[in-house]
Structures are given as C-alpha cells and as structure tokens.
C-alpha cells in the first residue's frame, strides 16, 4: 500500500513541478524574494548578539543553526501543504470535495498532498547553508548520531505541524466559508524562530507538551550538538503518532457533516 501511495505522490510531484516552472522567470524571482526575506532573521540575531554573548545558553552560532533549521522547516512544510491547505475552505464550500471523495485513494491524503509548491524552494538550501556555515565557523561540536536524531526530530516536527494544522482546517466543515482559515495556525509556527527554551516557563511547557512545536527547530538544533534527552524524543514520537491518528479520526468525523452543497 505504501508503494502505491509513493508512486501516486511521485506522479503528483511530476505534474506539479511542470506547473510550477511554467513561468520560469516568476518562479526564480519569487524564490529570490523569499530568500532575501529569510535573511532579515539572520540580521536580527546579528544585531542582538552584538550586545550580548549568549542568551540563556544560546550563543550567536547556536541561534543561527536554529534559524537555518527553521527556514528549512518552513520551506518543506510549505512545499508539502501550502497549495493544498490554502484551497481547503473553498473545496468544502464549493462542494469540490466530491471529486476527491469519489477517487479510489485515501481522501485525507489527496486533500493534503495533491498540490506541491516550489515557491520557497531556495529557502531550503539557504537554511541548509546557514546551518553548515554556522557549525563550521563557530566550531560547534557535532556528531553523526546527533544529525540522525536531529533529522528524526525534524520529521516528527513535520508530522506534528501537519496534524495540528489539518485539524484546525477541519473547522471549515462547521463554520462555512472562511477564506483566512489557512492563516489561523500558520503564524503560530513563527515562534520557532527563537529558541523555545528562552521562553517563560509556562510557555515552554505548552509548546513542548500540549502543542509540541518545539520539534520544529529547537529540538533538532539542540540534537545537533547533543543536548536532547531521549525522553523528549520518545515523547515526540508518541505525540506525533497520536496527533496524526487524531487528525484522521476527526477528518472522518467531519466528513459526516459534509453536505456536498452547490456541487
């Protein structure tokens, strides 16, 4: 079954790639715009660390690794779901969901992943470049094992964010047409631009356990220099699986109140 969905996704990728590069000039310029914008964050840290050497254990180098990972995360999650989730309320309101429900594949999969976006593609490489550059120029101690943990935490982060975001969008079934529903959750991701362990204690607890956004950038970054406990990784694994399962259950529940109006 996994093979079938992978090959399906590969076909989506091919079709979407041709669509995205159809207007080549625009595609390139969009990416350059997005790249420049991501640099403002680097400047922010540069200016702040001109005045202090470290903030609650985070040095300039450490913070830059975090920024790099955040940019990579932002690029990946947007590539995966941006074009799907922004259409979500409309699909339900206009009754276009009919076309998806009648296809012989998992409807949640189709709703979430059939459109791939490359608008922020360069940001992925910019993020990677920032991570590597800061590791080498600030001589941050790393290990292969650390990278492996960081990568797993990153994947957990993707699953967590996907599930939370998807569940918020399900409100579209009940609230009718809200075009901005897409923006209800997205801004919350931005808190990962700064290390979550510099937050006040209650906020730290919320973002580690209730809405585990700590897996977007803070945990992967700390994993690189080996500061992550195995407990939090285990917790992350169960939280991701649970949230994904919950999103699927809620999707099935929400479908029951789909009226297929106006189709």
């Amino acid at each position: 079954m996994i093979k079938r969905y992978l090959s399906l996704y590969l076909k989506f990728l091919k079709a979407n790639f041709s669509r995205e590069v159809q207007f080549r000039g625009n595609f390139l310029l969009l990416n350059i715009g997005s790249l420049l914008w991501s640099l403002t964050l680097v400047f922010y840290y540069f200016f702040v660390f001109n005045h202090v050497s470290s903030v609650k254990g985070w040095s300039f180098g450490h913070s830059l690794v975090l920024v790099g990972i955040y940019l990579m995360f932002d690029s990946v999650i947007k590539a995966l779901v941006e074009n799907n989730f922004s259409q979500f309320p409309r699909i339900i309101y206009k009754g276009e969901l009919d076309f998806i429900l009648t296809k012989p594949a998992n409807s949640q999969f189709l709703v979430s992943f059939s459109r791939f976006s490359l608008r922020n593609f360069l940001r992925l490489f910019a993020g990677l470049a920032i991570v590597l550059w800061s590791i080498f120029s600030f001589k941050i101690k790393i290990s292969f094992f650390g990278f492996l943990i960081a990568f797993s935490a990153f994947i957990l982060g993707i699953i967590v964010v996907y599930s939370l975001w998807f569940m918020i969008l399900l409100l579209a079934f009940y609230l009718g047409y809200i075009e901005n529903l897409y923006f209800l959750f997205y801004p919350l991701l931005r808190i990962s631009r700064i290390p979550i362990d510099t937050f006040p204690k209650p906020a730290q607890i919320i973002f580690s356990f209730v809405l585990p956004l700590v897996f977007i950038s803070t945990v992967p970054a700390k994993a690189i220099w080996g500061q992550v406990s195995w407990q939090i990784m285990v917790y992350g694994f169960f939280a991701a699986v649970f949230l994904l399962y919950l999103s699927h259950r809620l999707w099935n529940l929400a479908l029951k109140s789909y009226s297929s109006a106006s189709s």
């Binding site: 207007f23 000039g25 625009n26 310029l29 969009l30 990416n31 350059i32 715009g33 997005s34 420049l36 914008w37 640099l39 403002t40 400047f43 922010y44 200016f47 702040v48 001109n50 005045h51 202090v52 470290s54 903030v55 609650k56 801004p187 931005r190 808190i191 631009r193 700064i194 510099t198 937050f199 006040p200």
Partner: protein
Amino acid sequence: MDIYPTLIFILFFSAVFSERELIGNYSFNSILVYYLITLSLNVLVVSHPEWGIAENINQGFLSSFLLKPMNFLKFCIANELAYKGNRSIFLIPFITAIIIFVPSVSQHMSLDLLQGLTLLVMISLAFVTYFFIKTLIGFAAFWFTEVVWLLGVWESISLLFSGLTIPIDLMPPFFQKIATVLPIKYAIFMPAQIILGKVSLKEQFIGILIQMAWLTFLIFLTRKIWRKGVRIYSAYGG
C-alpha cells in the same frame, strides 16, 4: 495588523534582558514601549495600494479607469486614506488603552506642542512616501505579471531599516549609516524616537528635509513610470 513578528522579538528580548539590564540605551521596559509605538506607527503609516494596482493591471480592469475622466492615482490614494480612517477606529482605542493601562508607556513618552507638530508633518510625509513606493511596486505589474517577489524584496529592506525589527540605534554603525539615507527610517523609527523624546529639533528638521527630497524623487519617478506603463499596457482580460 501583523503583530506576530514583533511579539516574537519582544519575547526574545525578555530573555536577553534577563542576562543584563541595559542594552544600548534601552531597558526592557523602554524597548517594550518602543515596539508598541512602532507597531502603531506601522498601522498608521504603511499603506497597501500595490495589490489593487497590480490586480487592475493584470486583470485588465485598468481600462475602465483610463476611459473615465479621473486620475487613477488620486483614486488609489483616496482609497488608502479611507482605509486608514477605518483602521484608526481600531487603532485609537488600542493606543488609548495602552497609555492608560501600561503606566511605563506614559513615563517614557515626552511630547510638547512643537514636537507634536513635527511628528504630524513627519507621519504625513511618511504616509505619502510609503504610498508612492508601494504604488511603484504595483506598477511593476506592467512589465512582470506577478509582483509578489518585488514586494518580498521591499519588505525585507523595510523591515530592517524602518526599525520594526530592532531599534536602529542598536545596529552596528555601518547599518545605521545606510538607514540614515533611506526614507523609511523617518517613517517609523524617528517618529517613535520623537515620541520617546530622544531626538533633537535639528535632527528632526534634517529628517523632514530628507523625507521631502525622497518624496520629490518618488513623485517624479511614479509619473514617469506611469506614462511608460500605460503605453505598454495591453489590457488583456479586460
């Protein structure tokens, strides 16, 4: 109003100030006040005509404006002014509430009549300056169909040098010098500093002169680009 980025900067600064009490001339309280003021100024000063203009050009709606006996730019600026009026309905109670309920705000503010007057001039000039810059971005739609990328480039520059990201006087000297010659420092950062009573009258005067120079240049450029743009405007979809 996009308050999330500012909220995040404030959050991080609260951690920074747990390491030491003063950064530059700022305490945590004064930086909090600074961000509140810049946020409000941002709502007041920055306009967004670029979306409407680009859409009118892309979809061919511009044709109907060209045929009517009225000036398209004047229409846009009236539109933005009305929108600002609307926004003020929300902004004014917000600011009043902050001044009343956050005592440190009024402690840090210092404004006399003359300062209030220069502030008013500066903010008005800033509004028009932003309007023309955004209009130029919208006009890019005559040549490029999409303008989102250009807006991205502009936003990056403007976030840094308007003082919305971090107070400009906390930047290294090199960046401060760049900010001095750009118009946006005088749109948000300097008005905020005037409210906080940190700018001498001479500096305010120079600021207004720089703003006027930029404005003259922008008006000239906008007219030129408009004429060129309308000539190559192909009205498809209209």
